[in-house]
């Protein structure tokens, strides 16, 4: 996640808060007390914390909708408190929970407000509106002239985001922008924000009280306590692996380990090529011999494209005349793109281990519960010892792919030497079927095609 946004062009600028305090008139305790933090350029920083802890107040001081009582705020090195507040806000995108669209303006007019305030000419504004609607996934010809009340909540939020981005501001402030939509739409909007951000590289301050949302979106998360005091400010990986105190731990909530698993993908870990595979065309007796040689009791039947089909036990083989209809269907499989959380789900459903498939659904290995627990243990260790955990991913990003591509099992040894890569494996798979289970021949023809 971190690497996604650093890959792209960064158009955002750094924001610094130094000793920022806000005391509302008439209240004894400050709503925000002496907050100092740096929000790095081009990153999504999520402010999370319990209701009333001062997240919104902190965020709104950045665009001076609320004037700080004391402290300093710089945006891209400029002192925000020195600038004209209205002009400042035109350079900071702003999106809020209820979207706050102007009900009397059409979608296009809503998006056009800031460019209009900045004095862009009509043609440029019209082009920009279409571009932005496209960017947030709304068909311009269909939605341009609609009024907000003619949109669903999710569509309104998209327009809200488009309006915030209209003048291409380097900084975006978002206060629970996806708070009022159903979980599925929220998930989609989150995915889209990440996709946008990968291209745009804005500096985004995102407020939520949903920790899962913070984990999903944040390059960094600031967990705030009473009066916005920073409890922990770190990457999601680090916070999940090693919460700084009880308050953070409480906020992370039950299932921190499960949440960590959402940050990792199967391709990031070692998944051994444990299963003995057999083409459905192979003869049962041949397979039984191979199982015996390998000391295995189960084999995974794959089709011509090496897609997993069924599990067969050695015991089913003695009576069978063909592999075509025996065995138990493979249930849940996980792809190398799946998160470890999905993988765990599949592992549990499958009774201890699950089949991993590659990009085209072909068998590439097996993942089991020890793999998952091992990764978690490793993460925890790293974050405990290092303290800094900016690159948690690297630690487990071993040579999982190599392992999958590499050596198989005794019966199939010929193929391991053929070549690496999908094309070679595919070739081997096809040949396997054609020559009726002769492993040596399969290897040869595999080599021939690669």
């Amino acid at each position: 996640m971190t690497s996604d946004s650093t890959d792209s062009a960064v158009s955002g600028v750094e924001i610094q808060l130094e000793g920022v305090t806000k005391r509302y008139p008439g209240s004894a305790e400050p709503a925000v007390k002496d907050v100092t933090m740096t929000i790095p350029a081009g990153q999504i920083v999520v402010l999370v914390g319990p209701s009333g802890c001062g997240k919104t107040t902190t965020m709104r001081m950045i665009n001076r909708l609320i004037e700080p009582t004391s402290g300093r705020i710089t945006i891209g090195g400029e002192d925000a408190l020195e600038l004209d507040d209205v002009r400042l806000r035109r350079k900071i995108g702003y999106a809020i929970q209820q979207a706050g669209l102007f009900p009397h303006f059409t979608v296009a007019q809503n998006i056009a407000v800031v460019p209009g305030l900045l004095g862009w000419d009509k043609k440029r504004i019209a082009e920009r509106v279409d571009e932005l609607m496209d960017l947030v996934g709304l068909d311009a010809s269909q939605f341009r002239d609609r009024y907000p009340r003619q949109l669903s909540g999710g569509q309104q939020q998209r327009v809200g985001v488009a309006r915030a981005l209209a003048a291409d501001p380097p900084v975006l402030l978002m206060d629970e922008p996806f708070g009022a939509v159903d979980p599925i739409t929220r998930g989609n909007l989150q995915d889209e924000l990440l996709r946008l951000q990968a291209d745009l590289g804005k500096t985004i301050v995102f407020v939520t009280h949903d920790f899962d949302e913070a984990v999903k979106l944040g390059d960094r998360i600031a967990v705030l306590g009473e009066a916005s005091t920073i409890q922990q400010y770190d990457t999601p990986e680090a916070i999940l692996a090693n919460p700084a105190n009880d308050m953070v731990a409480g906020f992370v909530g039950a299932g921190a380990s499960l949440k960590q698993l959402t940050l990792l993908r199967v391709r990031d870990v070692d998944y051994p090529d444990l299963a003995l595979t057999a083409d459905v065309g192979e003869s049962p007796s041949e397979l039984r011999a191979r199982l015996a040689r390998a000391g295995d009791t189960y084999a995974l039947l794959v089709d011509r494209r090496r897609r997993p089909q069924r599990w067969v036990h050695v015991r089913n083989l003695s009576a069978a005349t063909s592999l075509a209809n025996i065995g138990r269907p493979v249930g849940d499989t996980v792809s190398t793109q799946s998160t470890l959380q999905d993988a765990l789900e599949a592992i549990l459903a499958e009774g201890g281990r699950a089949v991993v498939t590659g990009t085209r659904g072909e068998y590439v290995g097996m993942i089991d519960i020890e793999t998952v627990t091992g990764v978690l243990a490793q993460l925890r260790e790293e974050h405990e010892s290092a303290g800094d955990a900016g690159d948690a991913g690297d630690g487990v990003d071993g040579d999982g792919t190599d392992a999958a591509d590499g050596d198989g099992h005794g019966g199939d040894a010929g193929r391991a030497g053929v070549a690496r890569g999908d094309a070679a494996r595919d070739g081997a798979g096809r040949a396997d079927g054609g020559v009726d289970g002769d492993a040596g021949a399969a290897a040869d023809s595999g080599a021939g095609t690669s």
Binding site: R60, N63, L65, V86, R87, L88, R89, R90, K91, G93, Y94, I96, Q97, Q98, A99, G100, L101, F102, P103, H104, F105, T106, V113, V114, L117, Y147, P148, R149, G160, R163, A164, L173
Partner: protein, 215 residues
């Protein structure tokens, strides 16, 4: 002479009086709208201010029209001035009250967003708040206009212009030739004009209220 013969016979005069009547009412409404909106804008953020403004405007409305005219004639003399002043004062309540209600009813998230994306105070007021409060303000003006159509008849007592003169002289000459016709023609004229203005308001709403907020 039947009523219709009477109307046909005095058409020119009645048309002129009708025109003066409408013009007096419309001008008073517009003046009251300007004042009412200004007052509304000045007070809507403060609950106390809103209560005071609405309270004062209601008090004016409770003064009987004859009494108010009686108070105004010594100040402004006879003629259109006291009539217009009275009409404006009566129109203030519905317009001020609806302006306050309309402005206070604007979704705070919308004004917050307007400020947040960089609209200045005046732009927020004129491009967002007043535009959103406009249907309510217009409804207030409509009520005011209907009310003034009737009150303007009574304002003729102060020698104001309009159909009131017909009604009054018809009533004072009761029993003599065409007295009833005169009073009836004046009254009928007021009713017809009120309906016409109602239609005008319908079209004003149609063309000035954004489709996005039309009911």
């Amino acid at each position: 002479m039947t009523l219709f013969d009477y109307i046909a016979d005095r058409w020119d005069r009645l048309a002129l009086q009708s025109w003066l009547h409408v013009s007096e009412v419309v001008q008073s409404t517009l003046l009251a709208a300007v004042l009412g909106v200004l007052i509304g804008v000045a007070v809507y953020r403060s609950p106390v201010g809103s209560a005071v403004a609405t309270g004062l405007a209601s008090t004016i409305l409770t003064i009987p029209s004859f009494a108010l005219l009686g108070l105004l004639i010594p100040v402004f003399g006879l003629g259109p001035t006291p009539a217009v002043v009275a009409l404006v004062l009566y129109a203030l309540l519905p317009i001020t009250r609806n302006t306050i209600v309309g402005l206070a009813g604007v979704d705070p998230a919308v004004t917050d967003a307007a400020k947040g994306i960089g609209m200045g105070r005046l732009a927020v007021l004129t491009r967002v708040e007043l535009r959103l409060a406009w249907p309510a303000i217009l409804a207030g003006m409509r009520v005011a206009t209907q009310m003034l159509m009737g009150i303007a008849v009574i304002a003729a007592y102060a020698k104001g212009p309009g159909l009131g003169g017909e009604v009054f002289s018809g009533l004072t000459r009761a029993g003599s030739a065409n007295a009833t016709n005169q009073a009836l023609a004046g009254t009928l004229g007021v009713v017809v004009l009120a309906l016409l203005l109602e239609g005008v308001y319908f079209f004003i709403a149609r063309f000035t209220v954004s489709r996005g907020i039309r009911g």
